[in-house]
């Protein structure tokens, strides 16, 4: 939803500050990182979450995606430190006897997978379209940017719902968990590309008129290749910022889709799905089913957002 915000600033910055990122990386970035305790903690938490997700299968008491490992007998056990807690269910279990901690670890994996792949896909689409629009200009540029305009006025969640719905209706009922994941990645990827495209296009427009492009063309080097070498480093900073913020947004979008019933199925729950399921048990006093996934999601997104904030400020020396 912040798509309208970032381009305003990044486009300008990309144009105004070629190579700023590279310079910044040398010293300032690392310095400002070390200076901010909050950022260091956020980075630590984010890293921790990624590690937890990667090693989920090693760390978990059970594989919550494998129904054979779920014991209905063990359902609705409260966390270990409460009176009714039972080992090994540190954070308790849910209605199905799913260990909440394991479910969080595996859910984290799904959420991050959807988020990261979604962001990578949207980045790839956005960069490609941005390069195309900027390089060719004219009608191609007009068309791509008009599409971007239109898309920008539609919130990502609605676009994702639409794509989700289209995919569901096209593939009918054949969608299993993995294809649902692919659909989510696709939906998120197609909803978030605009900012990248605008940033890259802005940078291309700046570079296009520079002498070296003409020079390269004179000596017979393909201009696109040359430009790519200049454009991409210049936009790395803004793109990194967009990607970080979008990662958080993508994860929330997935959670929201799942609240509206279009997210990951309950047999392979993401953090968002876990919250939706757990939400139904809040009044029943089985708070741990929703509280821990909620906390995990909030902590993850908070950390990523903090990193994104810091990155944006750090790459923009004016704000320091």
């Amino acid at each position: 939803m912040s798509e309208a915000v970032v381009p305003h600033t990044t486009e300008k910055r990309a144009a105004a500050a070629p190579g700023r990122f590279r310079r910044a990386l040398d010293s300032d970035l690392f310095y400002s990182f070390r200076r901010s305790k909050v950022t260091m903690i956020a980075a630590g938490v984010t890293l921790l979450f990624f590690l937890l997700a990667i090693f989920a299968s090693v760390l978990s008491a059970q594989n919550p995606f494998d129904p054979a490992q779920l014991q209905l007998m063990n359902s609705r056990i409260s966390p270990l430190w409460t009176a009714d807690g039972q080992s090994p269910f540190l954070l308790g279990t849910d209605e199905q006897g799913r260990d909440v901690l394991s479910a969080i670890l595996y859910g984290l994996r799904i959420s991050l997978l959807v988020g990261v792949l979604g962001v990578v896909l949207s980045g790839a689409i956005g960069i490609l379209l941005g390069l195309t629009a900027g390089y060719f200009g004219g009608a191609v540029d007009g068309l791509i940017m008009r599409i971007a305009d239109v898309q920008l006025s539609f919130p990502a969640i609605l676009i994702a719902l639409l794509i989700n719905g289209i995919a569901k209706s096209v593939f009918g009922n054949k969608l299993d968990e993995m294809s649902m994941l692919a659909v989510l990645v696709f939906a998120i990827g197609l909803s978030f590309w605009v900012q990248y495209a605008r940033t890259v296009r802005g940078s291309v427009l700046v570079e296009k008129n520079k002498d070296y492009v003409a020079a390269a063309q004179l000596i017979g080097l393909p201009a696109p290749v040359i430009m790519l070498r200049h454009v991409l480093p210049n936009t790395t900073g803004p793109i990194l910022v967009i990607a970080t913020i979008n990662l958080a947004l993508a994860i929330i979008t997935e959670a929201t889709l799942s609240f509206l019933g279009s997210g990951m199925p309950e047999t392979m729950p993401s953090l968002g799905t876990l919250i939706r399921i757990g939400n139904g048990y809040l009044f029943a006093g089985e708070w741990w089913i929703v509280a821990f996934p909620g906390l995990a999601l909030a902590a993850l997104i908070l950390s990523i957002n903090l990193l994104g904030d810091w990155l944006r400020d750090a790459l923009n020396p004016k704000l320091r």
Partner: protein, 532 residues
């Protein structure tokens, strides 16, 4: 003297009523997850809609608090011959617009309910004749005996002929109507309440009908109905005292509601039976890794699946004790019998049965399941998936919203399922409906409607013969015996796996006294609310 005294008493009562009723008549706020979908009582055969309309419309008969058929617009009836039913109509009843209720309205309603576009055509056999004898007597002449003719009539609501004719509403509003008819936006019944305003999906206000022929058991002046689809919001509205009655309460919230100082939960067994079915019609399953044959055609595999499912565990854990495990495909209220016991949960026997059938290593199959239709439906399916995994049947669960689910598994979708869960309430409140619709052979050339909802494709000609005999048998003990034989036969075939009757759970404010009926129809004309 006696006349004087009674006159005095009546006057006193009248004065008292005048003095008391304005203060004691209350507004009841009611929230349901479902919606009142049309005001035309013949448009949609759906229980929530029928229950709502039951406050403004009435049938010739009604169902009492114990679901027994009781007289309503018909004071009494008799069957002079097995194929002739005579109904004596109540006199002095008026529709909400003041029109008197007469035999003409019954004849008219009988035609309208069977007309094209009605969703209730089966309420009266198509070839039955409805004859007005006098203004308050009507005969129904059938071509074959039907002992349960009135079973579904509690939701066959009588409409006003004059009103319908005056408002161009003689034809029923079809479910697929592209323009709303007058009758779908307005009501004119004889019932205890009058709809004052109706904003679909938002709010419907029922005002009390001061001229109702029956003495009200409620003390309400109006009912404000709001559909609240989100379960948490619905519960919150009850807990915070914003509504007085909600239906349903999610099972996990029942304890919370009971613990609340201003509300409680009414629970009881529902008539709906939840069951699992296996496709035993196709030669190869649509969704399985077993090719060239159908494992569910093997009775040992069906028994294995049956024995692998621990319904008691589902009851304790998923349903929180609020279900009644069932051996039969109908609820005990419909067919009470002590002769049936559920075959024991026995995973080891199940494994052995599978091995005997040649599936020692199990197989893979996809299970279809709704996730917004029955109480904890998806959770039950997930639990079953886990249980079947322990006998090496790897189940891929496809839990979907009811719209997509029904589109796929029902007859119009081509019964596209290999393993599924479904719930069924015979709306006749009679076993025959289940024997015919769910367990009868599909594709019976003589009876195309047989096996309409038989998603498993179970087919046993002997069973169908029994079902046919049940339909025409008027002697109830002989009839029960036939039903029993049919159920025994189906159990021997391991045709279906009945799981349980789910519990119905209504949330009710402590200020409100309410009768809960097992068909889950919320009838607020039995509700009383304390003064505020």
């Amino acid at each position: 003297m006696s006349v004087g005294r009674s006159l005095f008493a009546a006057t006193l009562a009248g004065v008292l009523a005048l003095a008391v009723s304005p203060a004691s008549s209350q507004t009841l706020r009611y929230a349901n997850q479902g919606e009142l979908k049309s005001l035309d009582p013949y448009t949609l055969n759906e229980s929530t809609t029928s229950a709502h309309l039951g406050h403004v419309y009435e049938g010739l008969v009604a169902r009492g608090k114990d679901l027994k058929i009781i007289p309503a617009l018909a004071e009494s009836w008799e069957t002079p011959e097995p194929t002739r039913w005579r109904f004596h109509l109540r006199k002095g009843v008026k529709f909400h617009n003041g029109d008197p209720f007469t035999a003409d309205d019954v004849v008219f309603s009988a035609e309208r309910v069977r007309a094209k576009g009605s969703n209730f055509q089966s309420r009266i056999p198509a070839d039955a004749k409805v004859v007005k004898i006098d203004d308050y007597t009507v005969d129904f002449i059938l071509t074959s005996p039907n002992p349960i003719l009135t079973a579904l009539w509690a939701t066959w609501y009588i409409m006003d002929k004059k009103w319908a004719e005056a408002n161009d509403a003689v034809a029923p509003t079809p479910a697929a109507a592209t323009t709303p008819s007058y009758a779908s936006l307005h009501e004119n019944g004889t019932g205890p309440f009058i709809i004052e305003s109706h904003q679909p999906g938002v709010k419907t206000v029922f005002k009390v009908n001061p001229n109702w022929w029956r003495k009200p058991e409620h003390n309400l002046k109006e009912i404000i109905f709001t559909p609240i689809a989100n379960p948490a919001t619905r519960v919150a509205a009850l807990l915070s005292g914003e509504v007085d009655v909600i239906e349903p309460v999610p099972v996990q919230d029942i304890e919370r509601v009971k613990a609340s100082p201003n509300a409680t939960a009414l629970t009881g067994p529902e008539l709906r039976t939840i069951f699992v079915g296996m496709d035993q019609a196709r030669d190869e399953l649509l969704y399985s890794n077993v090719k060239g044959k159908n494992p569910f055609k093997d009775v040992r595999v069906r028994e294995a699946v049956y024995r692998a499912i621990d319904v008691d565990l589902i009851k304790n854990r998923v349903m929180r004790g609020l279900s009644t495990p069932s051996a039969l495909m109908v609820a005990p209220e419909i067919f009470p019998s002590k002769d049936f016991a559920r075959p024991k949960f026995d995973p080891d026997a199940a494994k052995k049965l599978l091995a005997d059938a040649g599936y020692a290593d199990g197989f893979e199959v996809t299970m279809d399941c709704p996730n917004d239709r029955y109480v904890n439906d998806a959770a039950i399916c997930q639990a079953i998936v886990g249980m079947l995994a322990r006998i090496n049947i790897k189940v891929d669960l496809l839990a979907q919203p009811k719209a997509q689910y029904f589109a796929k598994v029902l007859k119009p979708g081509g019964y596209k399922t290999s393993l599924f869960m479904l719930g069924w309430t015979p709306d006749t409140l009679d076993s025959q409906n289940v024997l015919h619709d769910i367990m009868g052979c599909r594709d019976d050339p003589k009876d195309p409607n047989r096996g309409e909802a038989n998603l498993a494709g179970y087919c046993n000609k002997q069973f169908d013969e029994l079902a046919d005999k049940v339909l025409v048998e008027s002697d109830s003990s002989k009839r029960d015996l036939l039903i029993k034989q049919a159920f025994e036969l189906s159990m021997k075939d391991w045709a279906y796996i009945p799981l349980h009757q789910q519990a119905l759970a209504w949330g009710v404010s402590k200020k409100v006294k309410l009768t809960q009926r097992a068909d889950n129809m919320v009838m607020l004309y039995w509700a009383t609310k304390q003064e505020e």
